[in-house]
């Protein structure tokens, strides 16, 4: 049986936990993507969580405690903690066993070092895949850091750098679109944003040429080619306040994991009854405790 998990990644402050909370709520509240969702916190350095985590890696190990007990800095502490998780992978497997029929949102630590430099995240993802999970990776980037063409390219490369080793299908997500100040129709930032979301390669290259010197000319052209034939570097905009935006993202994830093909056909009467009683799905979620 195939199980499903979304890996939610991205630098600190990109909105990972906020996304997990909003998506979990969205999936529980009816609509086309309705399903029973559980959130897993995989960040041993996480602060207060915005959601109720069904599995919390901090029950196994906390970076702050590691730092105190072993006299390590935040870096060493995080590495130690993540390697501890990998060594105790059975703990994770056992915890996951309780949520076999559920859709998992996995809130991952942000440090890119854990993806590319030290392969702990790769090991964890492999463990999920071995346990029959269809995994889709979401790489979240705060849209406020993406204010011009060069920064878009930079963001796309950051995502690529983290994802290239994980080898799971993935989507780059531009978060906090709702917090973007209203940009006027003539604002160059708006033109940049639109060009990038539409992967309008000629427009992006033209803007890049304005921004960079002759030394980067050939590199810009190579980037344009990469954008042209690599969907890994495009972005999906996300506005958490807009259910349609969440639906659109969920649909893309489902296409990548072929979620719909593996669902039991639904009884339309049951659907109507569920819709009339929105509290139902919540009870289901709590029953897992």
């Amino acid at each position: 049986m195939v199980k499903y998990a979304q890996l939610v990644m991205g630098p600190a402050g990109s909105g990972k936990s906020t996304y997990c909370e909003a998506m979990a709520r969205h999936c529980g509240s009816g609509g086309p993507g309705r399903r029973s969702v559980h959130v897993v916190n995989l960040d041993p350095a996480a602060e207060e969580l915005r959601y109720r985590a069904s599995i919390d890696v901090r029950e196994l190990v906390r970076v702050e405690e590691v730092m105190q007990e072993l006299g390590l800095g935040p870096n060493g502490g995080l590495l130690y903690a993540m390697e501890y998780v990998v060594q105790n992978i059975e703990w994770l497997a056992e915890e996951l066993g309780d949520y076999d029929d559920d859709y998992l949102l996995v809130d991952c630590p942000g440090q890119v070092e854990l993806y590319s430099h030290i392969p702990v995240m790769k090991t964890l993802v492999e463990a999920l895949v071995r346990a029959d999970y269809a995994v889709v990776g979401l790489y979240l980037v705060d849209s406020h850091f993406m204010t011009d063409a060069a920064k878009f390219i930079s963001g796309a490369l950051t995502c690529l750098s983290a994802m290239v080793r994980l080898e799971v299908p993935h989507l780059n997500v531009l978060t906090k679109m709702d917090l973007q100040p209203r940009l006027g129709p003539d604002d160059p930032r708006r033109r940049d944003l639109e060009a990038f979301l539409d992967v309008d390669v000629p427009a992006i290259t033209a803007r890049l040429r304005e921004q960079t010197g002759p030394r980067m000319e050939a590199l810009n052209r190579a980037m344009a080619e990469l954008l042209d034939d690599y969907s890994m570097v495009s972005f999906v905009p996300l506005d958490l306040g807009d259910p349609a935006s969440l639906d659109a993202l969920l649909e893309q994830c489902d296409t990548m994991t072929q979620w719909a093909e593996n669902q039991e056909p639904r009884d339309p009467h049951e659907d109507a009854r569920d819709a009339a009683d929105p509290g139902d799905s919540h009870d289901d979620a709590d029953a897992g405790d």
Binding site: L78, Q111, L157, S161, L179, P181, G213, A222
Partner: protein, 332 residues
């Protein structure tokens, strides 16, 4: 506070434009464990030996001991452990907050540098251990922009040779990240290939000049099944052409002279090819800050006008105007 508002609020007062005879700022950036701080220590002692005018800045709030003599140390201004307990933050939040607090006072750092500029050749800046705390934060952007619009600035991207050779896929991910840093900062880049005392950097240099050799190495890595598309290797090839690679050993000091040679070349490049863009961006930032200020003043005026007049209370309100303006900035 969002990044744009933060940048506007902390826009430094106008400092002189970079001069060719002035110092070059080296921003040391690299993945945790790449050997940044050790390299800093070696560069520091090398320059001191040669009596070269040097200024060191440590921006890592969480480093327990700074192994080089820093002229300015973020830890003197912000106590990381206290930030953790005072703001009730975890280790990562505390690093970000410490850096934010420091960034708001960065104009003072520029002031110190400016005063000493005539006697300095190098300014070495060590960044936080976790790369994103600097490359993906508003404060990192503010600090980079402030430095690069006042002094010739180059990014020194530190890569650990033994780890890269052992794992070509790791090296590739690291180079994609380095390219990302170059696009973000739009500054010349020097690649410092460290730990050459453990392993020679020749393999890396071959990979960088011959993509077929690199493809071959990638295929021999059993943990990596990814088909490197042509477009991705083309990007990497072109990226290598824009930068300078300097093998260096922090332990023995081998390659340090050549490293500084690369930095000197990158400094010239900064003036010849990057400065025009740096100044354009600076001007755009100043205009945006001015516009934001004007808008806030207008908003304040509007608020005051709609407030009913209440005699003495009204007079007091005008005195507090400045404070309100700041609050308004944070709400946006």
């Amino acid at each position: 506070m969002d990044a744009a508002a933060a940048a506007a609020a902390a826009a430094p007062p106008s400092f002189p434009t970079p001069k060719r005879e002035g110092p070059v700022v080296c921003l040391m950036i690299g993945m945790a464990g790449s050997g940044k701080t050790t390299l800093m220590q070696r560069l520091n002692s090398h320059l001191c030996e040669h009596k070269t005018g040097l200024y060191c800045i440590n921006l890592d709030p969480a480093v327990p001991q700074c192994p080089f003599a820093a002229n300015i140390d973020i830890r003197d201004t912000v106590k990381y452990k206290e930030v953790m307990s005072q703001y009730n933050l975890g280790p990562n939040g505390a690093i970000m907050t410490s850096l934010n607090l420091f960034a708001t006072r960065f104009d003072q750092v520029l002031g110190f540098l400016d005063k000493r500029a005539s006697e300095l050749s190098y300014v070495l800046v060590d960044t936080p251990g976790q790369i994103e705390a600097f490359t993906w934060s508003a404060s990192g952007t503010i600090i980079t922009e402030a430095l690069s619009s006042s002094f010739a600035t180059v990014v020194v991207y530190v890569v650990d040779v033994p780890r890269s050779v052992a794992n070509p896929a790791t090296f590739m991910a690291n180079m994609l990240y380095a390219c990302s840093v170059m696009y973000r900062t739009r500054l010349p880049l020097v690649l410092a290939l460290t730990k050459t005392d453990v392993m020679s950097a020749d393999t890396i240099l071959t990979w960088m000049s011959d993509q077929f050799e690199f493809q071959k190495a990638l295929q021999s890595d059993p943990s990596f099944a990814h088909d490197l598309t042509n477009s991705m290797s083309l990007v990497l090839q072109e990226f290598y052409r824009t930068l300078r690679a300097a093998p260096v050993s922090a332990l023995t000091g081998e390659g340090v002279e050549k490293f500084f040679g690369s930095v000197a070349e990158a400094k010239e490049e900064y003036f010849d090819e990057f400065l025009a863009d740096v100044e354009r961006r600076k001007k755009a930032r100043e205009e945006a800050a001015k516009k934001a200020e004007a808008e806030q003043l207008e908003k304040l005026r509007h608020d005051l006008a709609s407030e009913p007049k209440k005699g003495p209370a009204h007079a007091r309100q005008e005195e507090e105007g400045e404070e309100e303006e700041e609050d308004a900035g944070e709400d946006n």
